[in-house]
Chain length 260, copies 4
Amino acid sequence: MTSSPLIIADREIRSRLFVGTGKFSSNENMRDALDASGAEIVTVALRRADLTGKHDPYANILEFIDAEKYLLLPNTSGAMNAEEAVRLARLAAAAGLPKWVKLEIHPDPTYLLPDPIETLKAAEILVKEGFTVLPYINADPVLAKRLQEVGVATVMPLGSPIGSNRGIATRDQIRIIIEQATVPVVVDAGIGAPSHAAEAMEMGADAVLVNTAIAIASDPSRMAIAFKHAVNAGREAFELGLPEVLDEASATSPLTGFLG
Amino acid sequence: MTSSPLIIADREIRSRLFVGTGKFSSNENMRDALDASGAEIVTVALRRADLTGKHDPYANILEFIDAEKYLLLPNTSGAMNAEEAVRLARLAAAAGLPKWVKLEIHPDPTYLLPDPIETLKAAEILVKEGFTVLPYINADPVLAKRLQEVGVATVMPLGSPIGSNRGIATRDQIRIIIEQATVPVVVDAGIGAPSHAAEAMEMGADAVLVNTAIAIASDPSRMAIAFKHAVNAGREAFELGLPEVLDEASATSPLTGFLG
Amino acid sequence: MTSSPLIIADREIRSRLFVGTGKFSSNENMRDALDASGAEIVTVALRRADLTGKHDPYANILEFIDAEKYLLLPNTSGAMNAEEAVRLARLAAAAGLPKWVKLEIHPDPTYLLPDPIETLKAAEILVKEGFTVLPYINADPVLAKRLQEVGVATVMPLGSPIGSNRGIATRDQIRIIIEQATVPVVVDAGIGAPSHAAEAMEMGADAVLVNTAIAIASDPSRMAIAFKHAVNAGREAFELGLPEVLDEASATSPLTGFLG
Amino acid sequence: MTSSPLIIADREIRSRLFVGTGKFSSNENMRDALDASGAEIVTVALRRADLTGKHDPYANILEFIDAEKYLLLPNTSGAMNAEEAVRLARLAAAAGLPKWVKLEIHPDPTYLLPDPIETLKAAEILVKEGFTVLPYINADPVLAKRLQEVGVATVMPLGSPIGSNRGIATRDQIRIIIEQATVPVVVDAGIGAPSHAAEAMEMGADAVLVNTAIAIASDPSRMAIAFKHAVNAGREAFELGLPEVLDEASATSPLTGFLG
């Protein structure tokens, strides 16, 4: 395919499918699924890492993620506020990880929804410290704008709660975010089926992040390929332009002919 | 991919994407798009053919559809009742076309919705005459059953009106048709985006038919590839099993860690 | 309210809410709910009646439905085909019930979806015999037209399966039925909440039939009143004309003022 | 009806329908519609008022809103940030209006979506100054919680953009807000039809605010009554408990009988 490239913070990213590394049944399964997905950007939860210096950070999981092949995107999942998120990001950088961070601050354990106030606060601090910041947010167009004003590299609005597989329930708001965005829009969370991923891309999202649906599939590698194809298909359709949605039918076969 | 095969009337069909041949801007574009789509089953409206014997039937369009490569599926689009549809099918067979017929009877010019009574009547006649009958129907589970009882080879419920690009508006009813089907279910009409095609496949449809969205795309061949990928992705997801849709979130990253 | 009247078969009906009599926990509850609903048309399943002559037909249930106040609409629920439905209707008429019949033919025990072929067949017979026929149908616009052509008094498309409370899942098709109808359209089945009833009326349905949601409510009479109000509200909105649905916002408050 | 009372900041409010005063074609129409609606809480944009002291604030519009009968709720519509909103609220209080304020801060002129950061900031200030604060917010459950923590009297999440009449497009998020709320939840914006209002109430919202759909109706008073009934119907249904939504049908009429 000849799709236009995705560029984030001046880096050209070869795949519009980002993959998360939680919930896989084994590191081997994860490694194979990442490979099959074609993803370049791979998220890892910092809370899963030992950043204390007592152990080699990421020792185990890093053996399975080739840093030459993937852009490792640490996320601050588990942080309850800006302070915790900033601390996690700094520790990760100090431990030698790339200064890219997926900013996730969700104080609510039931729905894991992001905190808009703390997210903006942490984004301001981290951008000033030279981080490339990709914040996970509710589908809030005004918040998306404010984050763009402080210099984030993307916005990552949720389709529906993390791991819920409910798809793009926030359709109307995501449409507005895309329309107004000055940075790439990555739809994150809730994408539970290839059709959800394709829909996000057809709406004009620049990328999607998928984790649960791949990680817990009976065959994560095959599911990763399915998502890769769906993302490409949706992107192609967006670039080519989808036909107008009509109220009436429009005959595909001419209704008059020369049948004798 | 290693998806299970699609079998219709004892014939193994290599692609779950069927493509219609109306609305292309040129026969060359159509030929290339068919090739790119990977489709095996290709529908052609009989009303577009000269079946009178005065001219070589399908002379022109057939130059562009390789009969070795594709299963040409004549459709009776334009027929207002069973009698007209049966006559069209017989003429096609007499002209040497395969005895497969996509049965389309839609008396209503605005929405092109199929007539359940005439469709069942025509199906009964054509099945008895040895045709392989693939009827286009409203998403009516009881009608689908009755058609199966008279021996149709598939049922082809509509997602939404032909050419409307509204997607799977009849979701609930199609789910029931699939659940109760004893023949392959092909979702036809209204599929205006790759995500629609993927959704139909994820629901368990055996195939989809796409025409308008490919034919009128700025680049029909690229759009055909997009649909091919979406159909494969949706089928894979169906075969692998999609994750449960939840009301709440489900953390992908463990929320407690050993961060010091 | 000054809504335009609903006229079915030349009879002016005072309420656009029809109520079914199944599933009530007691006949007293049913009687009170019917009274509270303001309904004029009340359906009763013929299968529940003793029409054999051995017992007084409807003896018990009729003590609770005042024939002066309500138009009793016998339904053929439980009939598996046209023959059974016709027989039920004739027995009811012979037993002195009004020659109005809600035609319900659903061979499928899981979804209770109506059979389009048998329904049309029975409608033709019963119309010729002088019955006022109100058929329960799938949301199939072509079938609706054909029934109108044989002389039915209304069409009663389903919103979703009986008792499922899923609301107007067949929205797109019902919109077409209403647009093309020459008789009143009564949305039947699946209406599980006042908002569903209001929506049907806002779309231009002439009436709705509600049973389960009222009958199994903790207080059927209060729920009946809620549905009555929702039906009236939806009808009013339809008659007054609803505002256009916009993609953008439209300020309700002027955004410039003379604030100093 | 015997619905449980709505209490906001210790005041019992007699109606769960709030009405806005923008867009009416005349003050007389507005007055009559307010009366017909049964509303107690009525919002007025401060930007429309002369609060400079040069003129009698609200002179004109106040002649049409009986302060004995209605609780006048000034709103800060038009404010671009917290500072402007706070200034407007203070001016209103200084001019003798009640210290209740509907906090609206929307910097974006196209979609009029609220700013979460500025809204929280202004709410903190105004609550400390003794205002009863009712903030208009995106359907963001975490923001709703944070506002509750600073002491707002309600939260007012949007269904869809102001004046768009798109209904409850933010359904999933509003459901979470309601589930977690410690103050009344008032669904605001986008409610364009009685069915939308009923749905919000059925979901458990404590009240709804309607403006455009009433103000621009061909007969605002009749439309106000329609919304009043829809709100009551939805609330009743919520209090009585709605029936479960099922995947299958559930017969309302017994399918076996003693018909001979």
